[in-house]
Symmetry: C2
Subunit: 179 residues, 2 copies
């Protein structure tokens, strides 16, 4: 039931409607943390309203419903944040590919590891740019939340991928060409 807590977290940060939540999910969480489409989000918002965790605080045009977190919702989010790391299943296709690299033969392995290192490096560079933008847009001395923390995590994550791939390549160089 992590979807529920993800939504709570996003709504605590900013009151918003399902459409915004869907985009926010796509933009910030989808990459490393959790993904969900609107077809999952809307029904869950209804259930959470029924359970008293959130409530409709405003109704905009085009039938939009702006949700806010209730005190009960805040409690639930905090409880979950402090609860022992659950066993929610991990799912990351990229890492899976990394782990299965050694199922390839040496030439293929080299090609793929190089490609991964290059891609990750590009993504890290791109995120570094995003971070600069965030910093520039934030008034000096102002606390940054969310976006900045998440972006920093992403940057480090891509660097990890890149460095790991390079390390693998180094290991392969020490390896005799023979099968």
């Amino acid at each position: 039931m992590s979807l529920r807590h993800a939504l709570l977290g996003l709504l605590v940060d900013t009151e918003q409607n399902g459409y915004d939540l869907t985009r926010r999910f796509e933009q910030t969480l989808s990459g490393h943390a959790w993904s969900a489409g609107h077809s999952q989000i809307y029904p869950e918002l209804k259930r959470m309203t029924a359970d008293g965790l959130i409530e409709v605080v405003d109704e905009g045009s085009r039938g939009s419903k702006v949700y806010g977190v209730t005190p009960a919702g805040r409690d639930e989010l905090r409880r979950w944040m402090f609860s022992p790391p659950g066993e929610a299943p991990a799912r990351n296709e990229f890492v899976l590919r990394l782990f299965l690299l050694s199922s390839l033969d040496l030439p293929d392995l080299r090609v793929l590891a190089e490609r991964m290192a290059r891609t990750s490096d590009e993504q890290a560079t791109e995120l570094a740019g995003t971070i600069k933008e965030i910093e520039a847009a934030t008034p000096a001395g102002q606390p940054h939340g969310y976006a900045r923390f998440a972006a920093e995590f992403g940057r480090r994550w891509f660097e990890l991928q890149r460095d790991w791939a390079r390390w693998v390549l180094g290991e392969l160089d020490d390896r005799p060409e023979a099968d």
Copy 2:
């Protein structure tokens, strides 16, 4: 359908039965890459056999069936490894919590970030130990595959968590106590 490819990858490395695959999944993939229980694995093995990707190469005692990858299976695995990174959904509860940290108030945030840093540091240290064991068990000059690569990735991953949590704490220190 990443489960299928995960199984192919494990089977290319070593021919084994469903029980072994389940444990292998639990041990090496479950943390960062992909998780699946035996109730998912056994039916999938059947389907893959029907699709000609794997085959029963041996039948052990206790009704165990040892599976091996067919040429078609090898092709499929290679095709997938080289295919553009799919959109398989990310799912990582730990990272989700990281991203939602800023939904907490400052004191809570500090407590949690500190706890995360400590836990991650312990896990990194533990994995470093595991890596030493693997190295010790591997004859010098021997190529290491899988286990070594995965462990190295895990170590770096835990270090990333630790360092990121510490960085967050540093950011918080620069922040005025005021709400």
